[in-house]
Amino acid sequence: MASTIRVRATATGDTTEVQALIQHPMDSGFVKDAQGQIIPPHFIQQLTFECNGKAVFVADWGTAVSKDPYVKFSFKGGNKGDDLKISWVDNKGASDTTTAKIS
């Protein structure tokens, strides 16, 4: 089962830098299709990153986040080999989750 989430988490010293790229249309609800019908909003609302069971970053997104959203942040307290769990939920109730190791 292919995940929509691509993540790279690298630890340098006690700081882990995380980059995530997620496949999602992030439709704003303002764009019309070829027939002139509005494409309804379809966007990730919340994206959560957890390390060792604790949330290290939470993104609350609206329709102004670009398609196939990208985000980068850093946190302390993670070590090489630790699991980083990423999950998102969108406005239609769909979700995805993946776990990556900090390298």
Partner: protein, 167 residues
């Protein structure tokens, strides 16, 4: 108190109601999710700030999200291009030397609704975020940093040649 104008095409009051209803149904549907996602979400973070994302104007969005106003600070470094080649994908990031940062939000003043993204920063996470936002047209981009219970901001004008709302 919270009213939004309906001057954009394809954004009628009826549609808002349907979307809001669909959103509520979608969110209540979360209770049925497998993979242990529900416990993780419940434990980890605050709810999605629906009201703040509905606000059209920047001041209203900030008020809805934080309940206070921000003061400009040179300790907040907003990085955004002078000219965005493609309004659908504008790389914007922030870093700050402020301490005790708990939240970072990005607003695009001239978008249909100003709040673009908001990030919850737990203790131990660095106060820096990079993301990519849509801009409908040339506009001020503002970043809000909540640190030690107070709000600080930085603003930059980004020119947009090709708008990010699909034409």
């Amino acid at each position: 108190m919270t009213t939004t104008d309906n001057e954009f095409s394809g954004y009628s009051a009826g549609r808002r109601l349907i979307l809001k209803g669909a959103g509520l149904v979608a969110l209540t549907g979360l209770g049925n999710l497998p993979f242990g996602l529900m416990p993780a979400l419940a434990a980890a973070n605050d709810k999605w700030p629906e009201d703040a994302f509905k606000q059209k104007g920047e001041a209203e969005a900030i008020k809805s999200l934080y309940g206070k106003t921000a003061e400009p600070s040179d300790k907040v470094k907003l990085d955004a291009p002078e000219i965005a080649e493609n309004g659908a994908v504008v790389p914007i990031s922030v870093i700050t030397t402020l301490t005790d940062v708990t939240s970072i939000s990005f607003l695009v003043a001239d978008n249909p609704s100003a709040l673009a993204a908001s990030y919850q920063i737990p203790p131990g996470t660095l106060p820096s975020v990079a993301n990519r936002l849509k801009m409908a047209k040339t506009s001020n981009v503002t970043v809000i940093v909540e640190a030690g219970g107070k709000l600080y901001s930085a603003t930059k004008e980004v020119k947009v040649t090709v708008g990010g709302c699909g034409g």
